[in-house]
Symmetry: C2
Subunit: 249 residues, 2 copies
C-alpha cells in the first residue's frame, strides 16, 4: 500500500478523516506511523495529497487531509479481457489497475468456462476492492470502470460498434498471427487504444474474425506461450513504450 | 505445461522414455492423453520435438522421443535481481524463464532482508524446478543459469567488471531517475543486454552509484510504482519490443 485511498464520504468537516479498517492496520503494523507524521493519501477518482496524522489509538487513526495534487494522467488504454478463472481474475484486475487502464470489459469466449461467471469476485464491491489494491500499489486514484458481458456475440456485434470510434487503435492479442505489436503498430501511437486479450488457450477463429470485422489488428507477443496475466503486463508495457517513442520522435 | 521437458539421462535405448512423476500425472489428468497420440516434448538445454505415446498405465507413461526441432533463439537479456522475498522469488524465477533470460544473478542489496538468503528455494534443485515450470509454460528448453551473490560489494566491484564487456547495453531500473527506457535506449538495440532490477522499495543511492560506475544507465518505468514481478515482465517485454523495432528499421 503506497497510498491510502479515501472515499469522498470519509472526508469530514475540516478535512478530518478517521480510519479504522485495514488502512489503519497498515499504518500501525507496517508503516509504524506516529502522530505528527505525514502520509501519502488520495481521494478515489480525485486528487492525491498528504494526510497529517493527528492521533493513533488501538482502534483508529485520525488524520487531516490535504488533497491538492494531480493524480497520474488518465490511462490511454482500455482492455477487453476474456473472463479469466477467478484466482487469476483477482490478480489480473489488480495488476491492470496498477499498470493503469481506463475501462475493463470482461467478456465471454469459447474457452471461458461458464462457471467463471458465477464467481463472487464479479460483485461490484469485490471487484472494487481488488481494483483499489492495484491503485494503492501504483499510487493512483482513478478507478478503472469494469463491465461484465456474459454473451460474446451481443458484446462484439452490438456493444463494440458503439464504442470503437473512441479508439485510434484496436489490437487483439493472439498467438501465431502474422505480426507482433512492433510490426503492426503505427509509428505514431496517439489517441486511445483498445486491446483485447483472450482466455488461456487463446481465442477461437470465429472470435478473431468477429474482432477483425470491428477493425481490430491481430498481434502476437512472440514465439513463447505466456499466461494471460503476463500478456496483460507485457502488452500494456509495450504500448506504453510505443506511445513514449511516438512522443519523443 | 505446454511442453514435457526431459533430462538427457531419461532418453533410453531407441529413444524410449518412461515418465512416472508429475509429467505423467499431467498427461493423464489434464491432457487425458491416449496411446497413439503425439505430445510436444523437449530436451532440457537441447532440441524440441514430439513424443509418441506408446503406453499409459496407472503409474507411468511410455513414449518414443523424436527430438529434431530447434528451440526458441537464445535470450539476449541477462538479469541482475536483488533477491526478492521467497514467495515472490518462486514466481519471478519461473516468470523470467518463461519470458526468456540467459542468466539470472541474484544479489544482495540494502533493502534485501538477510533472511531471504536462507530460503531453501536457493538450493540448486529447487531453483531448477521453478525454472522448469517457466520453460514448460513458454515451450522452451534453455534453462537460465542462476548464480547467487550474497555480498553486494564483491558482486558489483569484483564480479561485474569481469562480465560487463559481454553486454552492448546495461540498464538499472530505479524509480524517479531522469529517463525511461524509451528515452535512454539507443535506436539500435543489437547485442546482449544486462538489466538490473532492485528490491521492493528500490536500490539505495550507494548501489545506484556503484552500477553507474560500471556504465549502467538508470531508467525508470513510469510514474507508477510497480511490484518487482511486474517490473521484470514489463522491462523484458519493452526490451523485446525495442529489439524488434531495431531489426525492422
Amino acid at each position: 500500500m503506497n497510498v491510502i485511498l479515501l472515499e469522498p464520504y470519509e472526508i469530514g468537516a475540516d478535512n478530518a478523516v478517521v480510519l479504522n479498517d485495514r488502512r489503519h492496520e497498515h499504518l500501525v503494523t507496517i508503516l509504524k506511523s506516529q502522530p505528527g507524521e505525514t502520509i501519502r493519501i488520495g481521494l478515489i477518482n480525485g486528487p492525491l495529497g498528504r494526510g497529517l496524522i493527528e492521533q493513533i489509538s488501538r482502534r483508529e487513526t485520525r488524520l487531516r487531509a490535504i488533497l491538492d495534487e494531480t493524480p497520474p494522467p488518465a490511462p490511454a488504454v482500455d482492455l477487453i479481457l476474456a473472463l479469466p478463472r477467478p484466482i487469476m481474475l483477482k490478480r489480473i484486475i489488480a495488476q491492470a489497475a496498477a499498470l493503469g487502464v481506463g475501462k475493463i470489459f470482461l467478456t465471454n469466449a469459447n474457452r471461458v468456462e461458464k462457471s467463471f461467471f458465477q464467481t463472487s469476485l464479479l460483485d461490484k464491491t469485490t471487484l472494487r476492492e481488488h481494483l483499489l489494491l492495484g491503485l494503492e500499489q501504483a499510487v493512483d486514484t482513478r478507478l478503472p470502470e469494469v463491465s461484465v458481458h456474459q454473451r460474446f456475440r451481443p458484446f462484439v456485434e452490438d456493444f463494440l460498434p458503439n464504442i470503437t470510434a473512441e479508439y485510434a487503435h484496436r489490437f487483439i492479442a493472439h498467438p501465431g498471427v502474422e505480426n507482433s505489436l512492433a510490426q503492426a503498430a503505427s509509428p505514431l501511437m496517439a489517441g486511445r487504444i483498445l486491446l483485447a486479450i483472450g482466455p488461456e488457450g487463446g481465442w477461437v477463429d470465429f472470435e478473431i474474425d468477429k474482432f477483425r470485422t470491428q477493425d481490430f489488428t491481430p498481434i502476437h507477443i512472440g514465439q513463447r506461450i505466456v499466461r494471460v496475466e503476463t500478456a496483460v503486463t507485457a502488452l500494456l508495457a509495450q504500448l506504453d513504450l510505443l506511445r513514449q517513442l511516438s512522443s519523443i520522435s
